[in-house]
Amino acid sequence: MSRYALRFAALGYLTLLLMVPVAFVFYRAFDHGLGHAWSSVSNGRAVHALELTLLLTVITVVANTIVGIILALALVRGRFRGRGLLNAVVDLPLALSPVVVGLALFLLYGRGGWLGGLAGHGVKVLFAVPGMLLATMFVSLPFVVREVVPVLREIGTEQEQAAETLGARSFQVFRRITLPAIRWAVAYGIVLTTARAIGEFGAVSIVSGRIEGKTETLPIYVQSQYAFDFNTSGAYAASVVLALIAILTVVVLRVLQPKEEVG
C-alpha cells in the first residue's frame, strides 16, 4: 500500500518538475519542423561546438574521476588535520555562480592577473581551450568525490585490511577490493560529471571569448541561437543533442550494470 503511495508521490513530483519541462524542450525543438531542427545542429559551426564540448567533457571526466577517487579516499580514510576543510573546499565550486567563476578566472589569468604573464609567453589560457577546460573542471569537480565518500564510509575497511594482512600490495588492494566496491558510486559520479560538464554555460562562456567556430561549445551555441539569431527552436534542438548525450551516459551505465544489482 505505502509502496504505491510512495511511487505515486515520487513520480508525481518528477512529472511536474522534470518530465514536463524536458518534454517541452523536445517539443519546442521541433517547432519549425524536423528539417529546421536538423540544420540547426548539423551545420559546421554546431558540429564544431559539439566536438569541442565532447573534448572538454572527456578530459574533465577523466581528470575529475581520478582526482575524485583519490580525494574521496583521503577524506574517508586519511588521517590528517583539516579534513573538514578539505571536505568543504571540494564542494565549493558549486557555490559559486558562473559569473563569479568567470570573474575569478579572469582575475587569475587575465591581463594584470597573477598569472596574466603566461599569455605574454605564448601560453594562452583565457579565450582558448585551456581556460575553458579549467572552467569546466572547476564546476564539475565535486561529483565523483561526493558519490564515492558515502559508499566508502558504508563499506568500511575490513576487507582491505584483511587483504593487506594476507600480503597484498596497496595498489593491488585498491584495484581488486576498493575499486570494485565503489564502482557504482564512481559510475554515478561520472554520469553527473558528464551531465554537468556538457551543460556548463556561464563560466565557460565568459572565459572562452565566444570566438565563432573556434571557442564555442554547444551550450554557447545554444545561447547564441536563442539570444542573437532568434532561432529559439534551433537553440532547443541543440539542447536536445545535449540531453541525448546525458541520457546516453546513463543508458551505458545501465547496460554495464549486471542485472542482479538493479533494484
Binding site: 581551450v129 570566438i211 573556434k214 547564441s224 539569431d229
Partner: protein, 326 residues
C-alpha cells in the same frame, strides 16, 4: 590509460587550432550581439574589395559589457563594436584603445537607433508618450540598467524626454522614480525583456528600434510606437591599439562607413549615419529627438551621465532601485 593519451593528443590539436588564431592578415572583431548579421555581410563584402582581399576574420559576439570585460582581460581584439560609449571608454582606461578613438567625421559612431515603445497588438492601452507609461495600471518592461548596459539608453531617454517637456532636473528624476514603480520585472538583458514581453507580461516594452525591427524580421511580431521625444542611440566602433597596427583592420574600420556597410546595418533595422545612405530609407523622424550630449536637457555625454546616474550604490538609478523595495 590509452584513453587519457588520446584525450591529451586531442586537446593539443584542438588547442593548437583554437589558439593559432591571429596569424598575419587576420582581424579580430569583438562585438556586441545585435549587429551580428550585419557584420557577417559587411565582412563578406569587405573581403571582395582590394583592401580586404585575403583577410580573415575572427568574430566574437556577446553582451556589450561582457565583451568589453573580455577584451580588458586580454581577449585579442583589433576592432571593438560595442553598444555604448562607456564600454569603449573603459578600454581606453585600460590602455587598450587610444584616447582619440572617436576622432573621425562620425565621432566613432557607426550606426544609430532610437528608443521606442513596443506595445500589444492594436495598443489597447493607447500608449503614445512617456506620460502614458505612468498611468495607473500600466506595466512597463525594461531591462535592469545595472545588468544590461544597453538598458541605460532607456533610462536616459525617459529623463531627457521629461526635460524636453520643460520639466526641471528634479522633476525629471521624480518621473524616473514613478516610472520604475510601474516596472514589475527587470529582465537581465534586452533579449530576455523581449522574450518576457512576448510571453505576455507587461503592456509596453522599452527597447531599441533596431531590436523591434529585427525581431519582426525574424518572425517575432512586434508592434512599436515611437514617442515624439526620444533618445538617439549611437553605437560606437573603435580600433584598438593592436588594430591600428594592422592595415586590414584599419581598412575594415573605414569600410564601416561605406554605403555597402551602412546598407547592411539598415537591413538590420539600424539607422545609417551616412546621410546619403540614410536618404534612401524612410525612418520616422521623431520631432523631439535628442542625444546623450544634448547639454540643454541635462545630458552632458556618457561619462558624466554614467557617473551621475549609474554609479553602483551612489548613482541616481541605484537610489531609485533602493526605493523600490520599500
Amino acid at each position: 590509460m590509452r584513453v587519457i593519451w588520446i584525450a591529451l593528443v586531442g586537446i593539443a590539436l584542438l588547442a593548437g587550432s583554437a589558439t593559432g588564431a591571429s596569424q598575419g592578415g587576420s582581424v579580430d572583431l569583438v562585438a556586441y550581439s545585435t549587429p551580428k548579421d550585419a557584420y557577417g555581410k559587411i565582412i563578406q563584402a569587405f573581403q571582395k574589395t582590394q583592401a580586404g582581399n585575403g583577410s580573415s576574420f575572427n568574430q566574437s559576439y556577446g553582451a556589450s559589457g561582457d565583451q568589453a570585460r573580455a577584451v580588458a582581460a586580454g581577449q585579442p581584439a583589433d576592432l571593438v563594436a560595442l553598444s555604448l560609449d562607456p564600454d569603449v571608454n573603459m578600454l581606453v582606461g585600460k590602455g587598450l584603445v587610444p584616447k582619440n578613438w572617436a576622432a573621425n567625421a562620425h565621432r566613432g559612431i557607426v550606426s544609430d537607433s532610437i528608443v521606442v515603445f513596443v506595445v500589444r497588438d492594436r495598443n489597447p492601452k493607447h500608449i503614445k508618450g512617456w506620460g502614458d507609461l505612468v498611468k495607473p495600471g500600466v506595466q512597463v518592461i525594461t531591462p535592469n540598467p545595472f545588468t544590461s548596459g544597453g538598458a541605460r539608453w532607456n533610462v536616459m531617454a525617459a529623463y531627457g524626454a521629461e526635460r524636453r517637456a520643460g520639466k526641471s532636473d528634479k522633476q525629471a528624476i521624480a518621473y524616473l522614480y514613478k516610472l520604475f514603480k510601474h516596472v514589475p520585472v527587470q529582465p537581465d538583458s534586452a533579449r530576455s525583456a523581449l522574450a518576457i514581453f512576448s510571453q505576455g507580461k507587461g503592456d509596453v516594452l522599452l527597447t531599441y528600434e533596431n531590436e523591434a525591427i529585427y525581431a519582426e524580421k525574424k518572425g517575432v511580431h512586434t508592434e512599436y510606437k515611437t514617442p515624439k521625444a526620444t533618445l538617439l542611440i549611437e553605437t560606437p566602433v573603435a580600433l584598438t591599439k593592436s588594430g591600428l597596427k594592422k592595415p586590414a583592420a584599419k581598412a575594415f574600420y573605414k569600410f564601416l562607413w561605406s554605403s555597402t556597410a551602412q546598407k547592411a546595418f539598415a537591413g538590420q533595422g539600424y539607422r545609417p549615419v551616412v546621410k546619403s545612405v540614410a536618404r534612401g530609407y524612410h525612418f520616422y523622424k521623431p520631432a523631439g529627438l535628442f542625444t546623450i550630449g544634448t547639454a540643454k536637457l541635462g545630458l552632458n555625454g556618457w561619462t558624466k551621465v554614467n557617473t551621475r546616474f549609474f554609479r553602483p550604490q551612489k548613482g541616481v538609478m541605484a537610489k531609485i532601485e533602493r526605493s523600490l523595495g520599500h
